[in-house]
């Protein structure tokens, strides 16, 4: 029994939320639909832990879907690289589901809740599928599953604020363009190589150096994924989508959605194609590197001038995605590892910040803007405490997870003779202190306009506390994140560098 379970884990981790989403939609009761969602995300999380242990033993697990052997059939690959985003997605999915239990009924009609949870599970399943699959076209399928489910989730925000419809529409159109570009790229590659399996692709593209169709196909794929990953300047869908989505959805999307696409980006850049190839070197140093640096500053500066806190955090996400793509663009083993470290830590940090802000908005029953925040820190000490810790983590203060990211990122850039990059990274993170400080100052130092009494709700702050604890824990004992990121990077670029 356990053997069968272990053997089928790669598909089970996807199927568990996917199947449950079909069941949840039929259940009219709010509590039971939540409970089933909770159960399936929890099981998915357990599966991902089991998978992690398996990967430690076997290093790569290949699963042939329906027993059709790859490269003809669809292959699911779990290795030391892909296990990393799987853990992020299932962990955050599980924590946000706990978080959503109070937030959803507050923002969504009773009748739509089970549908929302169904979409919720669909989005999570899509994201997990995205990172487990080893098939370029199957990847497109999951990309669309997760995007369409996310778009629908964002649109649910319209029950509170009609702006959500515009946001969802933007997200839909731009996301569809991205997906189309990606699938055109896959088509071109299929045309010249005759395979859709990524491992197979990577062997066949070696012989096709300087093939025009290959370069075009690569370009389409990369741009398509960059749209999904919200790499500057293809990020314009992101701030609105994050800002107007229902609270729990913002948290889920901010922490996981772009991470999965960033992982795909790394996989295509380093695993399907070869980093020693001129095509990749040029793409990295002339396209992704400059865009990442612009993103770092543009996102931060936009955040400094933003008054609406959810949008502010979304702009800051754009900047943080810049750090991750910058790490990929440097293209050494150390820097790719740094990118993975930041991917993990940023999921924890941004998830926590969005949780804190959306719970504040739940307590005061208003959109959270800078002026709304004044003096709230004293009224909600636990939420405020978590918010401060995670802000410090975002700023990269020592002994928090964010510091570990910055440390490795800077070490990697100095190690690659990029002292100026290191200085730019630090300069932009110093700028990020400005907007963080503005929020903390408003929460703590300003006097409230009228006396506010708020009773903090344990079901809301429990997941916030857990995720804040993780922010500190991974700052004090980072060996799990660092070691597995270095292993992942070794697997991706180790062969050539």
């Amino acid at each position: 029994m356990t053997d069968i379970l272990i053997k089928n884990l790669p598909i089970l981790v996807v199927l568990c939320p996917l199947m449950m989403s079909l069941i949840v939609v039929l259940i009219p009761n709010i509590f039971f639909s939540w409970l089933l969602t909770f159960a399936s995300t929890f099981v998915a999380f357990i599966f991902s832990i089991l998978l992690y242990q398996e990967v430690q033993i076997h290093s790569t697990i290949s699963y042939a879907l329906g027993n059709w052997a790859p490269p003809l059939g669809i292959e699911y690959v779990i290795d030391k690289v892909s296990i990393f985003p799987i853990i992020i997605i299932t962990l955050i999915g599980f924590l946000t589901t706990i978080f959503s239990s109070k937030m959803m009924p507050d923002e969504i009609n009773e009748t739509s809740i089970s549908k929302v949870y169904s979409l919720w599970l669909l989005a999570i399943a899509g994201l997990i599928g995205l990172v487990t699959t080893g098939d370029a076209f199957n990847l497109f399928v999951f990309l669309e599953i997760s995007s369409l489910a996310s778009v629908a989730l964002v649109a649910m925000g319209a029950q509170k604020d009609k702006q959500a419809l515009v946001a969802a529409y933007n997200y839909l159109i731009i996301g569809a363009v991205g997906a189309t570009l990606y699938v055109i790229g896959v088509g071109l590659l299929y045309g010249i190589t005759g395979t859709l399996n990524m491992a197979d692709l990577s062997e066949r593209v070696v012989d096709l150096k300087n093939n025009k169709a290959l370069i075009a196909g690569f370009g389409f794929m990369i741009v398509g994924i960059m749209v999904k990953a919200a790499v500057f300047p293809m990020h314009i869908w992101l701030p609105r989508a994050y800002a107007y989505a229902p609270s729990a959805v913002s948290v889920l999307l901010a922490a996981t959605a772009t991470k999965a696409s960033l992982y795909i980006l790394a996989r295509i850049l380093f695993s399907v194609f070869d980093i020693a190839d001129n095509l990749i070197i040029n793409t990295l140093s002339y396209i992704i590197l400059p865009l990442s640096i612009i993103a770092m500053f543009a996102g931060t500066i936009m955040a400094v001038y933003e008054k609406d806190i959810k949008r502010l955090l979304a702009h800051s996400s754009v900047a943080q995605i810049g750090y991750i793509t910058l790490a990929f663009a440097i293209g050494t083993k150390a820097s790719v590892a740094a990118g993975f470290i930041h991917m993990f830590n940023h999921a924890l940090i941004k998830g926590a910040l969005f949780m804190a802000i959306t719970s504040i908005s739940f307590y005061i029953q208003k959109r959270v803007t800078l002026s709304n925040l004044s003096g709230l820190g004293r009224a909600m000490p636990i939420t405020f405490f978590c918010f401060v810790i995670c802000s410090l983590s975002l700023a990269g203060l020592p002994l928090t997870a964010g510091f570990i990211s910055k440390l490795y990122l800077i070490k990697a850039s100095i190690g690659a003779d990029g002292l100026w990059i290191a200085i730019l990274i630090l300069f932009s993170s110093a700028l990020s202190v400005i907007y963080l400080w503005k929020m903390i100052e408003a929460l703590w130092l300003q006097q409230p306009r009228k006396e506010i009494i708020i009773k903090e709700n344990p079901t809301i702050y429990i997941s916030l506390l857990i995720i804040t604890f993780l922010n500190i824990y991974f700052g004090l004992d980072a060996s799990f994140v660092v070691d597995s990121s270095i292993e992942a990077a070794e697997k991706l670029v180790g062969v050539s560098k």
């Binding site: 990269g396 020592p398 570990i404 800077i410 070490k411 002292l419 290191a422 630090l426 980072a478």
Partner: protein, 485 residues
Amino acid sequence: MISFENLILITLLSPLLVCLLTPLLSSKPILRDILGPFGGIISSWGSIQLMASILNGEQPRLELLQIAEGISISFVVTPLGAIFGLVASVLWIFAAIYSVGYMRGNKEKNQTRFYIFYAMAVHAALCIAYAGDLLTLFIFYEVLTFSTYPLVTHKQNEMAQKAGRLYMSILVGTSVILLLPAIIWVWVVTGSLEMSQNGVLDGKMNPKYAPYLLAMFVFGIGKAALMPIHKWLPAAMVAPTPVSALLHAVAVVKAGVFTMLLILTNVFGIDFLSKTGASNWLVWLASFTLLTTSIIAIYKDDIKARLAYSTISQLSYITLGGALASSMATQGATLHIITHAAGKITLFFVAGAIYVGAKMSKISELNGHGKSMPLIFLAFFVGSLSIIGVPPMGGSWSKFFLMLGAAESGYITVIAVFCISTILNAYYLMEIPARAFFFKKEREVKIKIPILITIPTLITCFLTILLFFFIEPFENLTSIMVSKL
């Protein structure tokens, strides 16, 4: 016999315990106020033991926490660290007593918060003193900055907030943008964050880049207050005087120059510096700062502002001593950490005493008040003599060694800089007792100085004299520090 690991823990944790216990005792002011001096005594006892162990040729170390491979929080007692640790913990006893007198005498608000962050800052300073690797050093350097922010903005008015913003942006900005990448650069070049007695860069770093790395360190260590990043120190003077006395004359600024000396000796290594000449430019920058700020000090009428500029100038002595890259100058610079600390804390204590006792903060107001506050002004006089470097005060030793060091490394001009600066020191410091004792009194002021202020002031004043006669153990420590080179 307590193991060295526990000894380090005791020394470091006693201020932290004070910091944690203070809020619990906020309703019992007497107990709360005793905590500080009590913690200081325990911590000083620990730091004296640690210093003795160094003199016996041992090297206490403590590995506290492993964050990831190659990154850990660890503590090592070096001769230089032992000296800084001793200075910070011993002076904390007196500063803690003094701050009780000051805070009560001045009826300040939020006293509990004040004591919490005061102890926190001392904790951070001690952790810097015993930091075993560059990352630990950086972490507690930041903790020190953050823990002093609530002290600088203690008055919570517009001016204090403005000063606090300047304070934070300079100190955090420089350390994050320059110090951190410099540390990581060393990490990349040498492959570890460890430091060693002989420096770690020799043979690993291209000498061509050494001046740039040094520049990143020099401007990254904002707490050493070299021009042009010195502005935060005068701004920090809005804080209550005990903060200026312990933190902005001893703990914070000395943490800056301590870090600077540590980087110069244990990261670059004196040999490497003198061989490559990487620090030549620093000699001139420090000399420039030293003279310019002395001149600015002359024009400051506010006592604390004048003392602040005097501090910047004296800190440059220490940086200059390190930059000269000779063993004699390094010894002088290290001794100057002690002698200047004892002297300057006395001067600040006096400034605070005058403020609490007579509500005066301008030098021009002091005319003729010497007779009504004789002990206080006498203490100021003695402290000034030590800063100027007149025997039989402790300050004479460090200046002596610094001048010898300048001669040893062949910088004749620097000797002239020291001489000119001594004259300037005498000019701006002696004006204060001179006005107090020899000028005619312009108005009568009612004077009431709490005993808890007078006593610590006299003790630290006495320490400056004592240092002249008992400099030997410290001199031995500094020679251990340079002998292994």
